[in-house]
Symmetry: C2
Amino acid sequence: MNKIKHPKRIKNIRNYLSEKKLDGIIISNEENRFYFSGLRSSAGFLFITMNDLYLFTDFRYTELASSEAPGWNIQKITSRLGWLPEIIKKLRVSNVGFESEFITVNTFNLIKDTINSSDVEVTLIPTTDIVLTLRAVKDEEEIKLITKAIEIGDKAFEYTEKNIEIGMTEKEVAWIFEKSVREQNAESISFDTIVASGKNAARPHHATGDSKIEANSTIIIDCGAKYNGYCSDLTRTIVIGDAEEKIKNIYDIVHMAQLSAIDLVKVGMTGEECDSIARKIISEAGYGDFFGHSLGHGIGLDVHENPNVGPRSKYIIQNNMPFTVEPGIYLQGWGGVRIEDIVIIIDNKTQVISKAKKINL
Amino acid sequence: MNKIKHPKRIKNIRNYLSEKKLDGIIISNEENRFYFSGLRSSAGFLFITMNDLYLFTDFRYTELASSEAPGWNIQKITSRLGWLPEIIKKLRVSNVGFESEFITVNTFNLIKDTINSSDVEVTLIPTTDIVLTLRAVKDEEEIKLITKAIEIGDKAFEYTEKNIEIGMTEKEVAWIFEKSVREQNAESISFDTIVASGKNAARPHHATGDSKIEANSTIIIDCGAKYNGYCSDLTRTIVIGDAEEKIKNIYDIVHMAQLSAIDLVKVGMTGEECDSIARKIISEAGYGDFFGHSLGHGIGLDVHENPNVGPRSKYIIQNNMPFTVEPGIYLQGWGGVRIEDIVIIIDNKTQVISKAKKINL
């Protein structure tokens, strides 16, 4: 048997199985299947028990699976769910977990019908947030991949900033970023690039459109790259032309809030506590009502994942858990400022992974 | 009240409600929400009853919703599912359908908890394939948008064919196609472009990679564009250099199978009957075992949707139901040929919408 790619990750999920007295778990989410097996595929299931690792996939991926998922028992799916009672019978398992946030009601009904019309008996137990919780803490390989995705995103942002011109549409600017990402051999952008100029910058989730880039107002660019499955996420606010005093003032408040949060976040704090560092500075400057989103979020195979770093988040920050720090101030009818970097605490020391330069106003 | 964008579509879903004695239906799928309301958004729900049209979405989309979804009662979601018992109470509905293939077990459990801890009583009824069935037959506006997506895809393919060179990687060729699509103002490609050269062409679902484009062998390019939500899908097989007799021979068989199917498909046939036209020709030429996928599939907001046009499909072909016709022959260790166009039958006359030219071998 070949060595599996991620023994630590398998150990973690087996610890969970043992803790919850489960004989096995069905993993259906695409990123989670990749996380454990090493195979990227658009369809399939993993079946993990204390002693066995089964990977079920269709004819498109069986060949690739042998090279990408060494150590897994690879089985070709020939009927949609027929493999399930077979493996349950073969491995004699009776309590099996499944990812309830990724299995639809319809699929679950089909699973129940398939089991009921077979000769096996099994209890299917809904789980939530199991793998997402494991995924929040990254291993060395993951940190390398995230760092690489960030480098690509940083470089593409700096290329975009150099080439942005007044009168271009927001979409054209987003396309400059995306081309640069792709030409650096990243697989894709990690989310739809936000380019918000002038009054549009007042909307944190502005849909990049045909508005033209304006002079002398803030332009928010929120962008990321995806490399080998891992995401980056970066926001910079820039101004082409002259920044009026109000822009400089608000930019400084947001920047100070960001630097303070980066300086003061610590292992053991809750998401809420981290968030409150930046929120306090913005509130004391009189803009508390205009910072209407969380300070940040974890990042990895998904661009938004655990931990949530916002008001009401009880999630505990740990070592090796990269997350974004992205305070903002948004004023309807005027514009907005957001500054975002990705940080990680390793051996209790906070590092800023993002390196894209910030403007001097 | 402003006029809604798609009264016919609303009439169809209300006919379904009345037939099934449902008081209302929750629409959660992203494409389906767009299909009925006209608003494209990454989150939200529609609640459709015989008399009311409610659109629930979050703060990011409420402003856009007023312009994009005229005639809908737009409500901002403030807590994840709190809106549901409220609307059930307000509209006094007791039998409510939901899309069981798009609601996860976890969300459904949260819905049940939310209902149970409120003072309303309601029966939630799982439905499947309702909107997807309605969507198979397209209206005039949809046919226009699909035609436009196909034009963009055709043009991008022809540009790619002009610029492809021996020694380029498959990924580089795919990127030429994608850039051309995006520079024509399409929103994106409609699926990951397949470029399969040499022996890779023997795999119908080859994952485009770093293999180099080879001379004198078949190159399959399967590609599509997305325009205003609607997809195109096109496959051409090309050869750079000299095509040996075997290539010419197999190309002719696939091409004849395709033209015959296009010529003979009729309203009222099942998917299976359409498929068998092409399959018979390929089988009689001795390659029946090497055409391992369906003849085609419907296309619209999703690149694969109803009708299925393959062996065992009882789906009845109707007017205004665009679908692909894409026979192929794949020989392990040698390569493959696939040719794909999108056809539509309007007033009982078959039209080929795809116009990208085919090669002369």
